[in-house]
């Protein structure tokens, strides 16, 4: 289990993450979502032992990932910026990783190369960005890690390969009881394969729950009334977002969907429509600071 406990990481005067805590159980795929610069990569690098943290602790099965090379032998980090040694091939990189990962399986590598149709003897610098990502993923999976850290690892993949990759990760986790953290901007991916999601907003985690719970506790309603309504008229609700246009109101509410619907009906709306929120909508609502009115900027 990955345990992140009140972690703070600073770059000079700038605080990237502050007092952040979360836990990733074994056999779980954890989605890390947040806008650019929210601290996702910092968190992943800190978990991988690349960055030292200023305070708090990051452990995997009780061992500090920064100071314990043994635990890193069972953990593979796929960074957003792929690195291969100059003029190397998948085969050569495999030999490198085999020196540091006791569980490295060349046969797994061969099989995965076959699945993804990659030539293990070809120079990696001749690969496209997407192919390089696939190669890195293949190498990472071949280390047979107990912990897999994927930073924007689906970038540059075509839908077919993305689908293949999803399947590979899900099957691997099911088979090996591996803990996975995936950071991504692609909320569809998260919703597709993650069983839990954490939303980083700047320095902290603002949302940490299972993917199912996310939708269950959020709902959007569109209502039409006979008379004009303001936000004050909905003071009994936990409003995440309110948009009023005279007699027509759009609401995003937290809480139990049925209970909220019942309460709204008691206000005698002429029309009530209910929409389940997608993960993306939830993400955007949480990041409402970035909800700029560009028309205003360019006018």
């Amino acid at each position: 289990m990955i345990s992140i406990d009140r972690v703070t990481k600073k770059y000079g005067d700038f605080t990237a993450i502050e007092n952040l805590s979360m836990q990733v159980p074994e056999g779980s795929i954890y989605g890390l979502v947040g806008y650019n610069g929210a601290g996702k990569t910092t968190l992943l690098k800190s978990v991988a032992g690349v960055y030292g943290i200023c305070s708090g602790s990051i452990t995997v099965n009780g061992k500090n990932t920064f100071t314990s090379p043994e635990i890193r032998q069972k953990m593979f980090y796929v960074p957003d910026e792929i690195y291969f040694e100059p003029f190397s091939t998948i085969e050569k990189m495999a030999k490198l990783y085999a020196g540091y990962y006791p569980g490295f399986s060349f046969s797994t590598m061969d099989k995965l190369c076959g699945v993804f149709k990659l030539d293990k003897k070809a120079k990696l610098n001749s690969f496209s960005k997407g192919m390089q990502r696939q190669a890195e993923m293949i190498l990472g999976m071949s280390t047979m890690p107990d912990v897999l850290l994927l930073d924007e690892s689906f970038d540059g993949l075509d839908p077919q390969k993305r689908n293949l990759m999803n399947g590979m990760i899900v099957d691997y986790v099911a088979e090996r009881n591996c803990s996975v953290i995936i950071s991504s901007h692609n909320l569809h991916e998260i919703s597709d394969i993650c069983d839990r999601v954490a939303l980083i907003n700047g320095k902290n985690i603002v949302l940490d729950c299972s993917v199912d719970d996310v939708s269950a506790n959020r709902c959007k309603f569109r209502l039409a009334f006979a008379e004009e309504k303001t936000q004050a008229d909905f003071s009994g609700f936990d409003i995440k977002k309110f948009k009023g246009d005279g007699k027509i109101v759009t609401l995003s509410l937290r809480g139990n969907e049925e209970e909220n619907e019942e309460k709204l009906r008691q206000m005698n709306p002429l029309l009530l429509e209910k929409f389940p929120l997608t993960l993306e909508e939830i993400f955007l609502e949480e990041m409402e600071d970035s909800d700029y009115d560009f028309k205003e900027i360019f006018s």
Binding site: V50, R72, F76, Y77, P79, E81, Y83, G99, P102, F104
Partner: protein, 811 residues
């Protein structure tokens, strides 16, 4: 199939993988060293050549000696002939460091390497050891092959292996220093540009620090034995002495000449002249081991830094303010010493003023340097302003260090030992023109264009300009301590000395003296002073010049030019390199040998050369006997002089030779039986009969080009080289005297020139008694460079001889 075996030991895996991947660097080193080792192999070729030509009577002994000789030259030679290869080796070491540790500077590489299942420290050390192995193997393997080959040929010898080990140790140390400095730098910085710049500064920092320390001691502490170190690469041994030589020469690392210099002579010929029973030199490895220990310490430090290194540094500049500060704090004051060096050129600047110059120059350079580096790195004036406090801290550190250093140095060098504590004393002249001229020029040794000084003469044999060595006589020690105390009083020394030349004007004499006391408790106390005068020097002149050591050294040098071991190998076989000796009386000049030989007269030349050699040998023996005192203070009446005049440039341009070409002057006294016997043998004894005395002596000082000798239409027959041509047609000849001669060019030889004018402060003596007194003191050269008088002795028959009168003798 899973990988189990290799991952059990990631350290070993990293080490072996890096050796495997970086082997081309090792091969390059191997090739370079192998090329240098070829010199050792070439002995075999020499052997074959010598056998074919019947050059050697005992091939086995000669060959062994030759081999040892070459090996010794690797250990001890100070020539630099293989600079290109030396630099190449160092560059390779630097490149290897960059290749191995560049992962620290790449964001992408750091992500991978820092997340691997090995600690950063171990990963770094494994790579470091791989680099060390590559460099060491590249050195040791060719050495080993060379040694084995030679063992097969000449038999085994422990000294051979010790020498080979020593040579290897030095080369490896040199390369490892660069390698380690760059590795250390890369653990601290975030970019390649910084690695190059700061790596170079860190590598050279011992040179910078050594120079700063020695310069600072020299200008801040009266009595300090240290001086400016002008060589950038020669000062890796730590502080330098007053000659600018490293004190611990064995620790030098960039001076590859110590171990890579091949013999410059033609081995084919030198085989003939090898001395018998050459022994292997015993190398002194202590400092090399200390140096290697320092390298290991730096490597461990680097590993510890890597363990704590923030990964986010990679790819960014200006991430190491500590190293940036170190570089500025090192280079700034080093450039400050260069400013002092320039300021010192005036010679009349006081040392206090130089000290202030050093402080101000260093601070300005540090401020400018810091600002430039900072602005380049952070590229933000706003940030720069917020970091200006670091500059102020740095300046404060500099001020504190300099203040502490100067205070400690002053306290340390202020004391003079008491007589009862001193067991023995030595006096040396690191660069004292005055004293060396006084002693050596009195001998009349000078080659026309480049004066050869006694310090050079002695240093060529002993590597130290020791004039008095280990004198235990308490009276002499007293005298020297008194002189030392007098020197100490002049605590605001000038870089050069203003010396009043007997009322004829002030001159700058950049003279120095070093006194080394060996105390009864075994410790050594060294004191050096910049301000010397003739008067002070003369208080110890007899002691210096009458020591057996001085006599032996001068005599040895005289003899060695004609008889000494392999040196003779450099004398051209036709012997023409030794020029003519002439004996002359005051009535004129009588050559004992003909003046010039054409190429067709080689046989005659050889025989004449033999006669000359005999004469030098005889003079040397008389010096040893003390019948020809080095200070020329004999109670005997001078019979005449023997001197050399040069007709040709000599071939004595090889190493370790002092050419005895022009105008070497030796007075002849009746007790010099060895010299007189040779003259008699060659039918020249009567040249000193009927010695005439001058009827007039005219003397003046040389203050400027406008002071000339008297012109009475007196001419001088002979050929003199023109050293300098003045504005008005006056020329300065190779004997230093100024004459009028139209149409002469520098370097040209002129004949039959006229002396036209004496200076305003000329003194003319005609009283026979006074002339006799002065005659006893004259010689052909000044006792001190600036302290003597040019004198002309006119004889009744109209001839004239030009000479010097030492100022201290002319009351």
């Amino acid at each position: 199939m899973t990988s189990k075996k290799s991952s059990l030991n990631p350290f070993r895996f990293t080490y072996l993988r890096n050796i495997k991947g970086k082997w081309p660097v090792g091969v390059s080193v191997f090739i370079i060293i192998a090329v240098n080792c070829w010199e050792i192999f070439s002995v075999i070729n020499q052997y074959n050549y010598a056998i074919k030509k019947n050059l050697i009577t005992d091939p086995a002994i000669n060959l062994k000696n030759e081999y040892k000789f070459i090996f010794n030259s690797y250990v001890n030679d100070s020539e630099i002939d293989w600079l290109f290869f030396e630099i190449l080796l160092l560059v390779l070491a630097g490149i290897l460091a960059i290749i191995l540790f560049k992962y620290l500077l790449s964001k992408a590489a750091v992500n991978v390497t820092f997340s691997l299942g090995i600690s950063r420290k171990k990963f770094f050390l494994a790579k470091y050891l791989a680099g060390a192995t590559i460099l060491s193997a590249g050195v040791i393997l060719p050495m080993l092959v060379a040694c084995v080959a030679n063992v097969c040929f000449f038999g085994n010898s422990s000294a051979l292996w010790i020498s080979a080990g020593y040579i290897s140790l030095k080369i490896i140390s040199a390369m490892m220093w660069i390698f380690t400095c760059f590795a250390l730098t890369m653990t601290l910085v975030g970019s390649v540009l910084e690695t190059f710049i700061m790596g170079a500064v860190v590598t050279l920092s011992p040179a910078f620090i050594s120079r700063i320390c020695s310069a600072l001691t020299a200008i801040s502490a009266n009595g300090s034995p240290y001086s400016f170190n002008t060589g950038l690469f020669s000062c890796f041994g730590g502080l330098v002495d007053m000659k600018g030589e490293p004190i611990n020469t064995d620790i030098t690392i960039l001076d590859f000449s110590k171990y890579l210099t091949p013999m410059s002579a033609d081995l084919n010929e030198s085989v003939l002249y090898l001395p018998k029973n050459v022994a292997y030199d015993r190398p002194y490895v202590f400092f090399s081991l200390v140096f290697l220990g320092t390298i290991i310490a730096l490597a461990v430090l680097s590993a510890l830094i890597v363990a704590k290194r923030p990964a986010e540094k990679a790819g960014f500049m200006g991430t190491s303010p500590v190293l940036q500060g170190f570089c500025v704090l090192t280079v700034g004051p080093w450039l400050g010493t260069l400013c002092v060096e320039i300021a010192k050129e005036g010679n009349l600047t006081t040392y206090r003023l130089l000290f202030v110059t050093f402080i101000i120059a260093s601070l300005i350079i540090m401020a400018v340097g810091y600002s430039v580096v900072d602005l380049i790195c952070i590229r933000s004036f706003k940030k720069y302003r917020s970091r200006i406090k670091y500059l102020l801290i740095e300046c404060a550190i500099f001020a504190v260090l300099v203040g502490a250093f100067a205070t400690v140095a002053n306290i340390r060098y202020a004391t003079v030992p008491k007589t009862e504590d001193v067991k023995s004393v030595s006096v040396s002249i690191p660069d004292a023109y005055a004293y060396s001229d006084m002693s050596y020029m009195r001998m009349g040794f000078y080659d026309g264009s480049n004066e050869i000084r006694l310090d050079e003469l002695l240093s060529s044999e002993t590597n130290e300009n020791v004039l008095i060595e280990d004198i235990t006589d308490s009276n002499v020690i007293d005298k020297i301590i008194a002189m030392n105390k007098e020197l100490k009083k002049r605590n605001n020394q000038k870089a050069g000395n203003v010396y009043n030349v007997s009322g004829f004007g002030n001159r700058v004499i950049p003279s120095r003296i070093m006194i080394i006391y060996t105390l009864r408790n075994g410790k050594q106390v060294k004191r050096a002073y910049n301000r010397m005068t003739d008067e002070m020097l003369m208080t110890v002149s007899d002691e210096i010049l009458n020591t057996e050591q001085a006599r032996k050294t001068v005599a040895y040098r005289l003899r060695s030019n004609v008889t000494r071991g392999y040196d003779i190998a450099y004398v051209s076989p036709n012997g023409s390199s030794f020029t003519l000796s002439k004996a002359f009386s005051h009535n004129g000049m009588t050559p004992i040998k003909p003046g010039y030989y054409s190429e067709g007269e080689e046989e005659a030349i050889v025989s004449e050369n033999k006669a000359q050699n005999e004469l030098y040998n005889a003079i040397a023996l008389d010096i040893l006997d003390g019948t020809l005192p080095l200070n020329m203070k004999s109670d005997e009446e001078i019979m005449g002089y023997i001197y050399n005049t040069s007709m040709e440039e000599t071939d004595l341009d090889e190493i370790d030779m002092i050419p005895l070409d022009t105008s070497s002057l030796f007075p002849v006294y009746p007790s010099m039986k060895n010299t007189l016997a040779v003259l008699e043998k060659y039918g020249e004894k009567d040249v000193f009969e009927n010695t005439a005395h001058p009827v007039r002596i005219t003397y003046t000082t040389y203050n400027s080009d406008t002071d000339f000798m008297d012109s009475e239409n007196a001419g001088m027959v002979g050929s003199m080289r023109v050293d300098k041509v003045g504005k008005n047609g006056e020329i300065v000849l190779s004997d230093g005297v100024v004459y009028q001669y139209d149409g002469a060019f520098e370097g040209e030889y002129v004949h039959d020139y006229k002396v036209i004018k004496m200076g305003e402060k000329t003194v003319t003596v005609t009283d026979p008694e006074e002339i006799a007194e002065i005659e006893k003191t004259v010689c052909l050269r000044s006792l001190t460079r600036y302290g003597g008088y040019y004198a002309r002795m006119d004889y009744e028959d109209g001839s004239a001889v030009f000479c010097y009168i030492p100022s201290y003798n002319l009351k």
